[in-house]
Symmetry: C2
Subunit: 363 residues, 2 copies
C-alpha cells in the first residue's frame, strides 16, 4: 500500500479549536483515506472529541501541547510564549523532525507566519516565503501572492512568486499550464516599477514548465479572473486583498440597508431569499478556505480562523494533495530552471558585444 500522507494539525487553532478541527479531520479522512494525523493540543480537551470518531482515532497520534496561541496574540508574543511548547509550534516542528509531511493550522496568521519563518527553513533558491491566497473571481478562483509575508520584491523574487503560484495552481485548480500575470498599473505614462518590468522580461524569456506568462494585469483583472495566478509584492498584495474584503463588506452593507428600506423591498427580499442565500454562499470565506505559505521547505496551510468542519476538511485536503502531487519538488525544478536561465543570461552579458554582434569577425 502507498505510504500515508502525514498531516500535523494545530488542533487549538481557529475560533472553535478542537470542536471544529477534529470533526474537520474526520471529514477529510472520508475523501482522503490515505492520511494519517499527528494532532497537537490540549489532550484533555481533544481526547473526548477524538473518541467520538473511531476511524479518525485509529489513524491519529495525539501529542499534548501545554500552550495554545490565542487568535489575537501578536506574533512576537506568540514566539515568546509558544516556542517549543505551543500546539502551533509543535505542529510546525513535526515537519522539521520528519514526523509529518504538511502542517495545517486555523490559528492566527501573523503568529503562524512568524513561527514558520522561525522554525522552518526556506527552500533552496528561495530567499523569502510568501503567502498565497485563493481569490474568488467571476470566472472561478485565482491564486494571488504574496498577500503579506514580506515587503518589497526584486525581479528574481517576483519570478519565484510566479513559479510557486503556478505550481500551486496546477494542484489546486488541476490545470496543466496555469496562466500567470504580473500586477502592475495600466497608465502608459507610468509604465510600472522597474522590478516588475524586469520580472516580465525574465518570465517571457525563460521557458518554464507548467506556466504560461500572460503579461501585466491591473487591479480589476483580479476579480475578473483574467489569469489563474496574480503575482505581486507583499505590501501591495496585502493592501489589494484587504481593499477587496472592505469593498465586499461595504456592498453587503449597502445591500442589507437597501433590502430593509421599504415594505416592498422586504417583500422582495422574502421572495428572493434563496437567491440571497446563494449570493451569500458565493461570498462565503469558507469557499476559499486556506492560504498557503510558499517558499518554505515544507507545506504549511493556514485555514480560515472562523471556519467550520467543512472548511477545515478542505484545507486538509489541499495539504494532502500538495504532498501527493509533490508541490515542493515541482517548485524546486522550476526554480532551478529559472536560475539556470539567469546564469546563461549572465554568461551572455560577459561575452564582448562585438563578438556576439558579428560572429564573422571570429573567422
Amino acid at each position: 500500500m502507498e505510504q500515508a500522507v502525514r498531516i500535523a494539525l494545530d488542533v487549538m487553532g481557529g475560533d472553535h479549536g478542537p470542536a471544529v478541527v477534529v470533526p474537520g479531520a474526520a471529514r477529510a479522512l472520508t475523501t482522503r483515506p490515505d492520511i494519517s494525523f499527528v494532532m497537537y493540543g490540549d489532550e484533555a480537551l481533544i481526547r473526548p472529541i477524538l473518541d467520538q470518531h473511531p476511524a479518525l482515532a485509529a489513524r491519529t497520534t495525539l501529542v499534548h501541547a501545554p500552550v495554545s496561541i490565542a487568535m489575537d496574540t501578536k506574533p512576537s508574543q506568540a514566539l515568546r510564549q509558544g516556542r517549543r511548547v505551543s500546539s502551533m509550534w509543535m505542529a510546525l516542528e513535526a515537519i522539521k523532525k520528519g514526523e509529518a509531511d504538511a502542517t495545517v493550522s486555523a490559528g492566527n496568521t501573523g503568529a503562524l507566519m512568524a513561527m514558520s519563518k522561525f522554525c522552518l527553513r526556506t527552500m533552496a533558491g528561495i530567499d523569502r516565503p510568501a503567502l498565497a491566497a485563493i481569490w474568488p473571481t467571476i470566472r472561478g478562483e485565482s491564486i494571488v501572492l504574496d498577500v503579506g509575508a514580506s515587503i518589497g520584491a526584486d525581479a528574481t523574487h517576483l519570478v519565484d512568486l510566479a513559479i510557486m503560484g503556478a505550481a500551486m495552481a496546477t494542484i489546486v485548480f488541476e490545470l496543466e499550464t496555469p496562466t500567470v500575470g504580473l500586477l502592475n498599473v495600466g497608465t502608459e505614462e507610468i509604465k510600472g516599477i522597474e522590478e516588475v518590468k524586469t520580472a516580465g522580461r525574465l518570465l517571457r524569456e525563460t521557458a518554464l514548465p507548467n506556466l504560461a506568462y500572460h503579461g501585466f494585469v491591473e487591479g480589476d483583472d483580479i476579480g475578473r479572473g483574467t489569469v489563474d495566478v496574480v503575482v505581486t509584492e507583499g505590501f501591495t498584495g496585502n493592501i489589494a486583498l484587504k481593499t477587496a474584503e472592505g469593498t465586499a463588506k461595504q456592498i453587503g452593507a449597502y445591500l442589507r440597508s437597501a433590502m430593509s428600506a421599504t415594505l416592498m423591498s422586504k417583500i422582495g427580499y422574502f421572495f428572493a431569499r434563496s437567491a440571497f442565500a446563494a449570493l451569500k454562499e458565493k461570498m462565503d470565506p469558507r469557499r476559499v478556505n486556506g492560504a498557503v505559505f510558499l517558499g518554505l521547505d515544507a507545506i504549511v496551510i493556514k485555514s480560515h480562523g472562523g471556519t467550520d468542519a467543512v472548511g477545515l476538511a478542505g484545507a486538509i485536503e489541499v495539504a494532502h494533495d500538495m504532498v501527493r502531487q509533490e508541490l515542493l519538488e515541482k517548485i524546486r525544478r522550476s526554480v532551478a530552471l529559472a536560475q539556470e536561465s539567469r546564469s546563461l543570461d549572465a554568461v551572455d552579458s560577459t561575452v564582448p558585444t562585438q563578438l556576439v554582434a558579428s560572429p564573422e569577425a571570429l573567422s
Copy 2:
C-alpha cells in the same frame, strides 16, 4: 461685485463631448452663477449647442481647437498630436497664460496627466503631482491619493500627499480638520515600509493646520471610511482603486445572476426593484465624479469620461469651490509649515547629543 471664477473647459473630452459638457456647464452656472467659462473645442460642433443656453453663452468665450484627443489615445501619442492644438492642451494652457483659474476635462486620464505635467509647473515645495480620487465608503466618502500619478514615494512625498489630501477634504467635504491615515499592512511581523513609518512620525510630530493624523490604516479601512483622507504611493493606490472597482463589478455580476436564477428570485427582484435602483445609484460612478490633480500650480479636475451633464456640473462645481476657497494657498501654507518643521528637525540633529542630553554640562 466679486471677481468671476474663470473655468477652462475641454469641451471635446469624455464619451459624449459637447453634448454633455455644454449642458453640464449650463447646469453648474445655475448653482455657481459667479463662473465664467472659456471653452475649447470644435467651434462648429459647440456653437449650436451653446446657442441653446443663452445664459451660459453670455458668460462664455468659445475658442476653436483644431484637434480633439480621443478617449483611447495613448498619453505619448496625445502629446505628439495634441500639443498646443488640442482642446485638452489649450484648456490647460489657459491656466498657464493666466486666462483661467481652473481646468475641467472629461478626457482620458493618462493624456490629461501627461499634458498637465508637460504644460503646468508643480507647486513650489512639491516634487511630483498626485491624482486624488473621491472614494465612496460606508460612512460617506473619503479622498484616496495618490491613485496613480507617480510611482514610489519617500516620507516627504507621503507627507505632501497628506497635506494636499487634507486641504482638498476641507473644501470637498466641508470639514474643519479632516482625519488622515497612512495606508499600511497590518501584520505586526511586517510592520510596514520604512518610508511609511517615517511619514507617520513626521505627521505626528508636525502640528499642521486642518489635519488630524489618525495613524496607519489597512486596505479594508478605505471602504469602512475610517478616515477622511487615505494616503499611499501611486502604485499601491492605483492597484487598490482598480481592485475595489473589480470587486464591485464582480459582486454586481453575482447579484444579477442570483436575481435571475429562479422564478421566485425574479418575483423578489420585481418587488425590490426600487431598492435595487437605490443600490445601483449608490454604486453609481457619477456620484463620485471627478478625480483631482494635486501638486500642480493649478487646479485641474478630471471628470469621469462616461458622465452626463449632472456629473459634469458636479466636477465644475468642485473646481469652482477649490478656486473660491483657495485650495492652492491652503496647500502652500501647510507645505511651508512642514518644511519649516523638517528643517528644525535638521537643526536638532546637528546639535551634539551630549549637550542636548545634559544641559547642566553647559553651566
